[in-house]
Amino acid sequence: MKIHRLIMGLGVAGMLASPSHAQDKSGDITIVLSSAVDVVEPCHMNSTGYIGQVLKANVVETLTRMDPATSEIKPNLATEWKQIDPQTWQIKLREGVKFQDGTDFNADAVVAALDRQFSPELQCRDTIRLFAKTTIEAKALDPHTVEIKTSAPMPLMPTTLSQIGMTAPGTSTTEATKSPVGTGPYTFTSWDPASNLVLTRFDGYWGDKPQVRQATYVWREEPALRASMVKVGEADLGLQIAPQDVDPQMDVGYLNADTSRIRIFMDKAPLDDVRIRKALNLAFDRSAFVGTIMSPDALPASQYMLPSVSGYDDSLKPWPYDPEQAKALVEEARADGVAVDTPIDLFGSQFMQANLDEMLQTLVQGWQEAGLNVQIRMVDKIQHSAMRRKPYPTDRGPTMVHELHDNTAGDAFFTMMVYYTSEGALSNISDPKLDAVLEEASVSTGDKRRSLFQQANRTIQQDVVPDIMLFHMVSYMRIGPRVSFKPDFTTGGQLELAAISLK
């Protein structure tokens, strides 16, 4: 009986708690994300998708921004920048900008924000990723000019600055903030890590006034539920809709910057033989996946980056489907005494992409027909990470790992150095010639830089074959009838409320 009353009480309380319907809610939207927002620290926002989706360009802005169409770096909170010498940059700031807490946005604020990124207590993921061992020293030259000195040359400073959030000077530098304050068009209004997060339009914003008044973020892990919520009107935008749930009337597909591949650890037989690596690439039909297991908009990939990235070589085509040749290569290797029958472990992790299981099973079937013995091992996120980065586990047989990579910064550097140099944290290549090319490319600029990276990409795909390149991945977003929005490859890390228009 008491429980009954409790339920009734709950119902009543729920009705009272929900805001009155008299208020104008036409400018309010709800967005359903695929994972819980349990951290809102802006210094992780470029390394943790959902933080960026909520905060970036909404609450916290960056000094520069990248144009998704051209990968060009544009002014944002900075109006102009110049490189004084290889290790010094000077940045001119926009005037008349205020933080949401009322403090002025000026050179001191930028210095504070940059210093905060390097606070040892925060262990900012963005900093670890963007700067590695490089340190910086920033100082205010005048109220609207900042000088940044770096411990090593950083030719891509403008790109890097498009990934560093400018937090208000009052933000704690010793612990992760739970109510970030920035200069963006939306203030961080409320956050219940268990259920939702609300952003409200900031009236003192320096730029144009966006249409959306208030955005509520909720999260559901089950894709079918996200789809259903938009369908029945409980939400206006649903992210990460599963390909099988796609309804062309409501769902928009977009290249999400992720490229999938299977990395080959080339240290053990039979994977140390390039013929086997080629056979692995030739043994399945990439186009058969498109529109079945993969979305119809997915693109078979030839390189580990999107075509829009500077350094991508248009002349390279994905590996063709040629089972006969694959079989022949395997037989040839076998004839040469390569242990082609050794079982190869293929590691994958469910959290990486939808339908991964199915994709891998289909691949394995193709390889089996080519005469190779591959077995799938699904592992946990953390084991997957430990598998992928150096130092690599030593007690393993021939190994391959399925992985995803997104290069949203627009320059091949962010892919190539990590994955394809001998020093790269995630690389298993050790090719001095390739190293030299990439080293040179990384310090070059302009067309030279681009063509050197393109040259490296050709070498990798055709001669080294360190991976089985799969697809440029597609995500689907379900867009409700009240709003319109055009997602692009940045949407995985940034979801600009200002870009949403109401119908």
């Binding site: 729920g14 590695a132 992760a176 259920s195 029945v232 084991q383 130092p391």
Partner: protein, 305 residues
């Protein structure tokens, strides 16, 4: 009685110690969290710095000592992932699970008892066979399957109920319904068996000889006697739910303790896992004591022995 509760609590305390040790060391066998918290390309230095900052490079036994020392002060530590006190997070998530479990158990019990008791009136009759088949089917349907079908039918198809999330009374209907199906099936089976034997007992004959009404005989005389095994099974089911109705919580986006713990182990948020296990264990031990007390409440023979 008080002595009994005391000894039960002592037993629980011993089990709790075992549990604490187990969860601490088991959790740490699952790997170092650094691979999740830092970007994959992080340097070895960054990883070492992270481990040092959170004490993961101390010998296990030292870590355990710190954990026990803090626990003694009721300090469950900070969540690695959310950077908040574990106790706050667990206590925030717990009511959701508890409410979910209570409502589901209540509905399961009511439905199971009524249907089981009625089925028992004529063993192998039509109603009995029907209840038997339905309850068996209910007890063997996968939860997540049921949950998604329920959403598709009631929220998307018929649009009677919201799909998921928290909010008012209506948001609880689907998850509670889904959650109650299995216990309901199991309990109905037990009620049926237990009621059949109760209805053939001598005291029921006495009641009939006194001219007591049939409904009174079933629901007052027989049912209370038939309740002991029912309570055992219901307690077992409730334990499972308090331990986290994980699947239902995940699908319906309910911020409960089960989801919290599963997420935490996936993120190697050890303090959080420990806190969650300890708090739920306290609840489960309390539930077990409550079950024993309800035995005593239902049956005076237990009360006075």
């Amino acid at each position: 009685m008080r002595g009994y509760i005391g000894s039960r609590m002592a037993h629980s305390a011993i089990s709790m110690v075992g549990l604490v040790v187990l969860v601490f060391f088991l959790a740490r066998l699952t790997g170092n969290p650094v691979d999740i918290y830092l970007p994959i390309e992080a340097s070895a230095e960054a990883r070492t710095a992270f481990s040092e900052a959170h004490g993961f490079d101390d010998p296990l036994i030292v870590q355990f000592w710190h954990f026990v020392r803090d626990l003694a002060r009721l300090d469950f530590g900070m969540s690695l992932r959310q950077d908040r006190p574990v106790l706050d997070l667990v206590l925030a998530a717990f009511p959701t699970t508890l409410l979910l479990a209570l409502c589901a158990m209540f509905i399961a019990l009511v439905v199971a008892i009524v249907s089981g008791a009625l089925a028992a009136q004529r063993p192998n009759g039509v109603l009995d066979r029907f209840v038997n088949v339905i309850s068996l089917a209910g007890a063997s349907l996968p939860n997540f399957w049921l949950a998604i079908v329920a959403v598709l039918v009631f929220a998307v198809g018929l649009r009677w109920l919201p799909t998921s999330g928290t909010g008012g009374f209506v948001h609880w209907i689907l998850p509670v319904m889904v959650l109650s199906v299995r216990p309901c099936g199991l309990i109905a089976q037990v009620v049926r068996g237990s009621m059949i034997s109760a209805m053939s007992s001598a005291y029921v004959k006495t009641a009939r000889a006194k001219g007591v009404r049939r409904t009174t005989i079933i629901f007052v005389h027989a049912l209370r006697n038939a309740m002991l095994p029912v309570i055992t099974v219901a307690g077992d089911q409730a334990t499972g739910m308090i331990n986290g109705a994980v699947v239902v919580e995940v699908i319906f986006g309910l911020p409960g303790i089960g989801k919290l713990m599963i997420d935490s182990i996936q993120y190697r948020d050890f303090a959080m896992v420990q806190g969650g296990v300890i708090i739920t264990a306290v609840a489960i031990f309390a539930l077990n004591i409550a079950i024993d007390l309800s035995y005593a409440l239902l049956d005076p023979r237990i009360r006075y022995s």
